[in-house]
Protein backbone atom coordinates (compact mmCIF):
# COMPACT_ATOMS: atom_id res chain seq x y z
CA UNK A 1 0.00 0.00 0.00
CA UNK A 2 2.77 2.34 1.03
CA UNK A 3 4.73 1.37 -2.03
CA UNK A 4 1.80 2.18 -4.34
CA UNK A 5 1.21 5.61 -2.81
CA UNK A 6 4.94 6.28 -3.12
CA UNK A 7 4.79 5.48 -6.83
CA UNK A 8 1.81 7.82 -7.29
CA UNK A 9 3.58 10.57 -5.36
CA UNK A 10 6.67 10.14 -7.54
CA UNK A 11 4.57 10.25 -10.69
CA UNK A 12 2.79 13.39 -9.49
CA UNK A 13 6.12 15.07 -8.64
CA UNK A 14 7.51 14.10 -12.04
CA UNK A 15 4.40 15.45 -13.74
CA UNK A 16 4.66 18.77 -11.90
CA UNK A 17 8.39 19.06 -12.69
CA UNK A 18 7.85 18.24 -16.38
CA UNK A 19 4.93 20.65 -16.58
CA UNK A 20 6.95 23.43 -14.95
CA UNK A 21 9.82 22.88 -17.37
CA UNK A 22 7.42 22.71 -20.30
CA UNK A 23 5.72 25.97 -19.47
CA UNK A 24 8.99 27.73 -18.65
CA UNK A 25 8.97 29.43 -22.02
CA UNK A 26 5.35 28.92 -22.87
CA UNK A 27 4.24 31.86 -20.78
CA UNK A 28 5.03 35.51 -21.24
CA UNK A 29 6.43 35.83 -17.74
CA UNK A 30 10.08 35.25 -16.96
CA UNK A 31 10.96 31.71 -15.87
CA UNK A 32 12.17 30.60 -12.49
CA UNK A 33 15.92 29.93 -12.54
CA UNK A 34 16.81 26.42 -13.65
CA UNK A 35 18.48 24.23 -10.96
CA UNK A 36 21.42 23.79 -13.37
CA UNK A 37 22.17 27.50 -13.04
CA UNK A 38 23.00 27.02 -9.37
CA UNK A 39 25.58 24.33 -10.05
CA UNK A 40 27.11 26.38 -12.86
CA UNK A 41 27.34 29.42 -10.58
CA UNK A 42 29.20 27.36 -7.97
CA UNK A 43 31.88 26.48 -10.50
CA UNK A 44 32.16 29.84 -12.25
CA UNK A 45 34.70 32.48 -11.31
CA UNK A 46 32.46 35.28 -12.50
CA UNK A 47 28.66 35.23 -12.66
CA UNK A 48 26.33 37.91 -13.96
CA UNK A 49 22.59 37.56 -13.44
CA UNK A 50 20.20 40.16 -14.79
CA UNK A 51 16.45 39.75 -14.44
CA UNK A 52 14.21 42.53 -15.66
CA UNK A 53 10.45 42.31 -15.86
CA UNK A 54 8.28 44.72 -17.84
CA UNK A 55 8.21 47.37 -15.09
CA UNK A 56 11.94 47.27 -14.56
CA UNK A 57 12.54 47.54 -18.30
CA UNK A 58 10.34 50.62 -18.48
CA UNK A 59 12.37 52.11 -15.63
CA UNK A 60 15.75 51.12 -17.10
CA UNK A 61 14.85 52.44 -20.55
CA UNK A 62 14.37 55.89 -19.04
CA UNK A 63 18.04 55.99 -18.19
CA UNK A 64 19.04 55.44 -21.77
CA UNK A 65 20.42 58.53 -23.43
CA UNK A 66 17.57 61.05 -23.64
CA UNK A 67 19.40 63.11 -26.28
CA UNK A 68 19.43 60.14 -28.60
CA UNK A 69 15.64 60.39 -28.86
CA UNK A 70 16.33 62.72 -31.77
CA UNK A 71 17.86 59.77 -33.58
CA UNK A 72 14.99 57.80 -35.15
CA UNK A 73 16.83 54.52 -34.90
CA UNK A 74 17.65 54.90 -31.21
CA UNK A 75 14.13 56.02 -30.46
CA UNK A 76 12.85 52.83 -32.12
CA UNK A 77 15.18 50.75 -29.91
CA UNK A 78 13.92 52.56 -26.83
CA UNK A 79 10.32 51.93 -27.89
CA UNK A 80 11.11 48.28 -28.46
CA UNK A 81 12.61 47.98 -24.96
CA UNK A 82 9.55 49.68 -23.50
CA UNK A 83 7.32 47.05 -25.10
CA UNK A 84 9.39 44.06 -24.03
CA UNK A 85 7.91 41.78 -21.40
CA UNK A 86 11.15 40.66 -19.83
CA UNK A 87 14.87 40.16 -20.14
CA UNK A 88 16.68 37.28 -18.45
CA UNK A 89 20.46 37.06 -18.76
CA UNK A 90 22.92 34.65 -17.19
CA UNK A 91 26.63 34.78 -17.94
CA UNK A 92 29.17 32.39 -16.44
CA UNK A 93 32.92 32.71 -16.79
CA UNK A 94 35.17 29.82 -15.81
CA UNK A 95 38.90 29.68 -15.17
CA UNK A 96 39.21 26.24 -16.79
CA UNK A 97 38.02 25.26 -20.23
CA UNK A 98 34.79 23.25 -20.49
CA UNK A 99 33.81 23.51 -16.85
CA UNK A 100 30.29 22.56 -17.89
CA UNK A 101 29.08 19.31 -19.41
CA UNK A 102 27.09 18.50 -22.52
CA UNK A 103 24.35 17.16 -20.26
CA UNK A 104 24.09 20.51 -18.49
CA UNK A 105 23.75 22.32 -21.81
CA UNK A 106 21.08 19.86 -22.88
CA UNK A 107 19.33 20.36 -19.53
CA UNK A 108 19.27 24.13 -20.07
CA UNK A 109 17.94 23.72 -23.61
CA UNK A 110 15.19 21.39 -22.39
CA UNK A 111 14.29 23.69 -19.52
CA UNK A 112 13.72 26.65 -21.80
CA UNK A 113 12.37 24.71 -24.76
CA UNK A 114 8.64 24.54 -25.43
CA UNK A 115 6.21 24.11 -28.33
CA UNK A 116 5.96 27.86 -28.99
CA UNK A 117 9.63 28.14 -29.74
CA UNK A 118 11.25 27.26 -33.05
CA UNK A 119 14.92 26.37 -33.23
CA UNK A 120 16.74 28.67 -35.61
CA UNK A 121 20.38 27.79 -35.08
CA UNK A 122 22.02 24.64 -33.74
CA UNK A 123 25.74 25.06 -34.01
CA UNK A 124 28.03 22.43 -32.49
CA UNK A 125 31.78 22.03 -32.17
CA UNK A 126 32.83 18.46 -32.75
CA UNK A 127 34.22 16.60 -29.77
CA UNK A 128 33.55 19.28 -27.15
CA UNK A 129 30.49 20.63 -25.40
CA UNK A 130 30.52 23.94 -27.22
CA UNK A 131 28.00 25.51 -29.52
CA UNK A 132 25.29 28.06 -30.08
CA UNK A 133 21.52 27.64 -30.03
CA UNK A 134 19.08 30.32 -31.10
CA UNK A 135 15.33 29.84 -30.64
CA UNK A 136 12.65 32.30 -31.64
CA UNK A 137 9.03 32.57 -30.61
CA UNK A 138 6.80 33.51 -33.52
CA UNK A 139 3.22 34.66 -33.04
CA UNK A 140 1.29 35.55 -36.21
CA UNK A 141 4.54 35.96 -38.05
CA UNK A 142 5.94 38.41 -35.52
CA UNK A 143 8.89 37.63 -33.31
CA UNK A 144 7.68 37.58 -29.71
CA UNK A 145 10.74 36.11 -28.07
CA UNK A 146 14.37 35.21 -28.50
CA UNK A 147 16.44 32.66 -26.63
CA UNK A 148 20.19 32.32 -27.12
CA UNK A 149 22.43 29.76 -25.44
CA UNK A 150 26.04 30.40 -26.34
CA UNK A 151 28.63 27.98 -24.96
CA UNK A 152 32.28 28.79 -25.45
CA UNK A 153 35.34 27.15 -23.93
CA UNK A 154 35.47 29.35 -20.83
CA UNK A 155 32.17 31.18 -21.06
CA UNK A 156 28.53 30.28 -21.06
CA UNK A 157 25.84 32.86 -21.87
CA UNK A 158 22.11 32.49 -21.70
CA UNK A 159 19.89 35.29 -22.97
CA UNK A 160 16.11 35.23 -22.96
CA UNK A 161 14.14 38.19 -24.29
CA UNK A 162 10.34 38.12 -24.15
CA UNK A 163 8.03 40.45 -26.05
CA UNK A 164 7.79 41.94 -29.54
CA UNK A 165 11.26 42.13 -31.05
CA UNK A 166 12.38 43.99 -34.15
CA UNK A 167 14.96 41.72 -35.80
CA UNK A 168 16.95 44.68 -37.12
CA UNK A 169 17.26 46.18 -33.65
CA UNK A 170 18.40 43.11 -31.66
CA UNK A 171 22.05 44.02 -32.09
CA UNK A 172 21.41 47.38 -30.42
CA UNK A 173 20.37 45.59 -27.22
CA UNK A 174 23.93 44.32 -26.82
CA UNK A 175 25.76 46.06 -24.00
CA UNK A 176 22.44 46.95 -22.37
CA UNK A 177 20.84 45.05 -19.47
CA UNK A 178 23.76 42.63 -19.23
CA UNK A 179 23.21 41.27 -22.75
CA UNK A 180 26.65 40.48 -24.19
CA UNK A 181 27.33 42.56 -27.31
CA UNK A 182 28.67 39.64 -29.35
CA UNK A 183 25.68 37.45 -28.47
CA UNK A 184 23.22 40.19 -29.51
CA UNK A 185 25.05 40.80 -32.79
CA UNK A 186 25.16 37.10 -33.54
CA UNK A 187 21.47 36.68 -32.74
CA UNK A 188 20.58 39.56 -35.06
CA UNK A 189 22.67 38.05 -37.83
CA UNK A 190 21.07 34.62 -37.46
CA UNK A 191 17.51 35.86 -36.92
CA UNK A 192 17.75 38.19 -39.89
CA UNK A 193 18.55 35.34 -42.29
Amino acid sequence: MMKRSGVWASLLALGIATGAAGIALGQDSLPEPSPIEKTLAERATHVTEVTLDKNMLAFASKFMDADKDDDKDDKAVKDMIRNLKGVYVREYEFDKEHSYTGAELEGLRKYFESADWSPMVHERTKGVAEGTDVYVKLVNGQMQGLFVLDAEAKELSLVLILGPIDVDKIGKLGGNFGIPKDVAKRAQKEAGK
Binding site: V47, T48, E49, T51, L52, F63, D65, N176
Partner: protein, 202 residues
Protein backbone atom coordinates in the same frame (compact mmCIF):
# COMPACT_ATOMS: atom_id res chain seq x y z
CA UNK B 1 -20.36 53.89 46.01
CA UNK B 2 -20.79 56.53 43.36
CA UNK B 3 -17.37 57.93 44.28
CA UNK B 4 -15.77 54.49 43.73
CA UNK B 5 -17.39 54.20 40.29
CA UNK B 6 -16.18 57.67 39.29
CA UNK B 7 -12.66 56.74 40.43
CA UNK B 8 -12.73 53.53 38.38
CA UNK B 9 -13.92 55.42 35.27
CA UNK B 10 -11.16 57.99 35.73
CA UNK B 11 -8.56 55.25 36.06
CA UNK B 12 -9.84 53.48 32.96
CA UNK B 13 -9.66 56.76 31.05
CA UNK B 14 -5.96 56.95 31.89
CA UNK B 15 -5.09 53.27 31.63
CA UNK B 16 -6.80 52.51 28.30
CA UNK B 17 -4.88 55.15 26.28
CA UNK B 18 -1.70 54.19 28.11
CA UNK B 19 -2.25 50.54 27.22
CA UNK B 20 -2.90 51.40 23.57
CA UNK B 21 0.21 53.60 23.50
CA UNK B 22 2.30 50.83 25.06
CA UNK B 23 1.13 48.37 22.43
CA UNK B 24 1.40 50.74 19.47
CA UNK B 25 4.73 52.46 20.25
CA UNK B 26 7.03 49.55 19.30
CA UNK B 27 5.08 49.04 16.07
CA UNK B 28 5.25 52.74 15.19
CA UNK B 29 8.96 52.92 16.07
CA UNK B 30 9.64 49.85 13.95
CA UNK B 31 7.75 51.28 10.98
CA UNK B 32 9.39 54.69 11.32
CA UNK B 33 12.90 53.33 11.53
CA UNK B 34 12.32 51.03 8.61
CA UNK B 35 14.14 48.30 10.50
CA UNK B 36 11.54 45.75 9.45
CA UNK B 37 12.95 45.70 5.93
CA UNK B 38 15.05 47.61 3.43
CA UNK B 39 18.23 49.52 4.19
CA UNK B 40 18.32 49.29 8.00
CA UNK B 41 17.35 45.66 8.04
CA UNK B 42 20.00 44.76 5.45
CA UNK B 43 22.73 46.70 7.31
CA UNK B 44 21.74 45.22 10.68
CA UNK B 45 21.68 41.69 9.30
CA UNK B 46 25.19 42.08 7.84
CA UNK B 47 26.43 43.53 11.13
CA UNK B 48 25.07 40.68 13.20
CA UNK B 49 25.94 37.85 10.79
CA UNK B 50 29.53 38.91 10.13
CA UNK B 51 30.21 40.71 13.46
CA UNK B 52 31.08 43.86 11.56
CA UNK B 53 30.26 47.47 12.27
CA UNK B 54 28.88 49.82 9.64
CA UNK B 55 30.03 53.43 9.47
CA UNK B 56 27.15 55.73 8.68
CA UNK B 57 28.08 58.93 6.85
CA UNK B 58 27.57 61.95 9.15
CA UNK B 59 25.03 64.54 8.01
CA UNK B 60 23.70 62.18 5.37
CA UNK B 61 20.26 63.72 5.84
CA UNK B 62 21.76 67.06 4.81
CA UNK B 63 23.46 65.55 1.76
CA UNK B 64 20.19 63.84 0.87
CA UNK B 65 18.30 67.12 1.23
CA UNK B 66 20.81 68.99 -0.94
CA UNK B 67 20.67 66.23 -3.57
CA UNK B 68 16.88 66.50 -3.57
CA UNK B 69 16.96 70.28 -4.05
CA UNK B 70 19.77 70.19 -6.64
CA UNK B 71 17.99 67.59 -8.76
CA UNK B 72 14.52 69.09 -8.18
CA UNK B 73 13.36 65.87 -6.56
CA UNK B 74 15.25 63.63 -8.98
CA UNK B 75 17.07 61.94 -6.13
CA UNK B 76 15.98 61.74 -2.51
CA UNK B 77 16.14 59.50 0.54
CA UNK B 78 19.86 58.77 0.37
CA UNK B 79 21.18 56.24 2.86
CA UNK B 80 24.78 55.09 2.88
CA UNK B 81 26.55 52.59 5.14
CA UNK B 82 30.19 51.60 4.77
CA UNK B 83 31.93 48.57 6.18
CA UNK B 84 35.68 49.19 6.07
CA UNK B 85 38.01 46.23 6.42
CA UNK B 86 35.10 43.84 6.04
CA UNK B 87 36.40 40.32 6.52
CA UNK B 88 33.20 38.33 6.23
CA UNK B 89 33.94 34.88 7.62
CA UNK B 90 37.64 35.65 7.81
CA UNK B 91 38.41 34.82 4.21
CA UNK B 92 35.53 36.54 2.47
CA UNK B 93 31.91 35.52 2.17
CA UNK B 94 30.05 32.62 0.71
CA UNK B 95 28.28 34.23 -2.28
CA UNK B 96 25.14 32.10 -2.07
CA UNK B 97 24.77 32.65 1.67
CA UNK B 98 25.42 36.38 1.37
CA UNK B 99 22.82 36.65 -1.37
CA UNK B 100 20.29 34.67 0.68
CA UNK B 101 20.90 36.91 3.70
CA UNK B 102 20.23 40.08 1.72
CA UNK B 103 17.24 38.50 -0.03
CA UNK B 104 15.75 37.60 3.36
CA UNK B 105 16.15 41.06 4.87
CA UNK B 106 15.52 43.34 1.91
CA UNK B 107 11.79 42.86 2.41
CA UNK B 108 8.80 42.64 0.15
CA UNK B 109 8.40 44.97 -2.81
CA UNK B 110 12.08 44.84 -3.68
CA UNK B 111 13.03 42.90 -6.80
CA UNK B 112 16.55 41.85 -7.58
CA UNK B 113 17.61 43.31 -10.91
CA UNK B 114 21.30 42.45 -11.00
CA UNK B 115 23.58 40.04 -9.22
CA UNK B 116 27.26 39.94 -10.11
CA UNK B 117 29.70 37.63 -8.36
CA UNK B 118 33.42 37.28 -8.80
CA UNK B 119 35.12 34.50 -6.91
CA UNK B 120 38.11 35.61 -4.88
CA UNK B 121 41.57 34.93 -6.19
CA UNK B 122 44.38 34.93 -3.66
CA UNK B 123 43.82 36.84 -0.43
CA UNK B 124 40.99 39.11 -1.60
CA UNK B 125 37.44 38.80 -0.39
CA UNK B 126 35.90 38.45 -3.85
CA UNK B 127 33.22 40.69 -5.30
CA UNK B 128 29.49 40.66 -4.81
CA UNK B 129 27.15 43.24 -6.31
CA UNK B 130 23.43 43.16 -5.77
CA UNK B 131 20.99 45.73 -7.13
CA UNK B 132 17.37 45.75 -6.02
CA UNK B 133 14.62 48.07 -7.22
CA UNK B 134 11.06 48.77 -6.15
CA UNK B 135 8.29 51.05 -7.36
CA UNK B 136 7.62 54.06 -5.12
CA UNK B 137 4.93 55.97 -6.99
CA UNK B 138 6.60 58.35 -9.42
CA UNK B 139 9.93 57.35 -7.90
CA UNK B 140 11.90 54.15 -8.06
CA UNK B 141 13.71 52.91 -4.99
CA UNK B 142 17.14 51.43 -5.55
CA UNK B 143 19.17 49.44 -3.06
CA UNK B 144 22.75 48.56 -3.91
CA UNK B 145 24.92 46.17 -1.89
CA UNK B 146 28.48 46.14 -3.18
CA UNK B 147 31.31 44.09 -1.74
CA UNK B 148 34.70 44.67 -3.30
CA UNK B 149 37.51 42.88 -1.51
CA UNK B 150 37.36 44.12 2.06
CA UNK B 151 35.07 47.07 1.43
CA UNK B 152 31.35 46.68 1.64
CA UNK B 153 28.93 49.50 0.83
CA UNK B 154 25.18 49.58 1.16
CA UNK B 155 23.38 52.43 -0.56
CA UNK B 156 19.68 53.15 -0.83
CA UNK B 157 18.08 56.00 -2.72
CA UNK B 158 14.83 56.98 -4.31
CA UNK B 159 14.93 58.33 -7.84
CA UNK B 160 12.52 59.93 -10.25
CA UNK B 161 13.92 58.74 -13.60
CA UNK B 162 12.05 61.34 -15.67
CA UNK B 163 13.13 64.23 -13.48
CA UNK B 164 16.68 62.93 -13.22
CA UNK B 165 17.09 62.52 -16.97
CA UNK B 166 15.51 65.95 -17.50
CA UNK B 167 18.17 67.44 -15.19
CA UNK B 168 20.96 65.46 -16.87
CA UNK B 169 19.84 66.53 -20.32
CA UNK B 170 19.54 70.17 -19.18
CA UNK B 171 23.13 70.17 -17.98
CA UNK B 172 24.23 68.34 -21.11
CA UNK B 173 22.63 70.95 -23.38
CA UNK B 174 24.26 73.66 -21.33
CA UNK B 175 27.62 71.86 -21.65
CA UNK B 176 27.17 71.38 -25.42
CA UNK B 177 26.24 75.06 -25.85
CA UNK B 178 29.39 76.20 -24.08
CA UNK B 179 31.37 73.73 -26.22
CA UNK B 180 29.83 75.20 -29.38
CA UNK B 181 30.61 78.75 -28.37
CA UNK B 182 34.21 77.81 -27.61
CA UNK B 183 34.52 75.99 -30.95
CA UNK B 184 33.19 79.05 -32.78
CA UNK B 185 36.08 80.92 -31.18
CA UNK B 186 38.36 78.59 -33.03
CA UNK B 187 39.02 76.10 -30.27
CA UNK B 188 38.46 72.37 -30.66
CA UNK B 189 35.17 70.84 -29.50
CA UNK B 190 34.56 67.29 -28.38
CA UNK B 191 30.91 67.80 -29.45
CA UNK B 192 29.68 65.69 -26.56
CA UNK B 193 31.18 62.50 -27.95
CA UNK B 194 31.69 61.24 -24.43
CA UNK B 195 27.96 61.18 -23.87
CA UNK B 196 27.62 57.43 -23.66
CA UNK B 197 24.19 55.95 -23.13
CA UNK B 198 23.36 56.02 -19.45
CA UNK B 199 21.56 52.73 -19.59
CA UNK B 200 24.43 50.92 -21.20
CA UNK B 201 26.02 47.99 -19.48
CA UNK B 202 24.74 47.00 -16.09
Amino acid sequence: MKQTETKATAWSMVLVPLGIAAVMTPAIMLAASGSGQGFDSVVNSIESRYHAHATKIPFMWLVSGIAGVATHGGVRGLHVAEFDDFKGDGDGVDGAEFNALIEKHVGSGWQRMVRETTRKTGGGGGEQSLIYVRAEGSHVGMLVVDLDGHELDVVQMSMNPDQLMHEVSKHRHHHDKSDDSSSSDGSDSSNGSDNKAAGESE
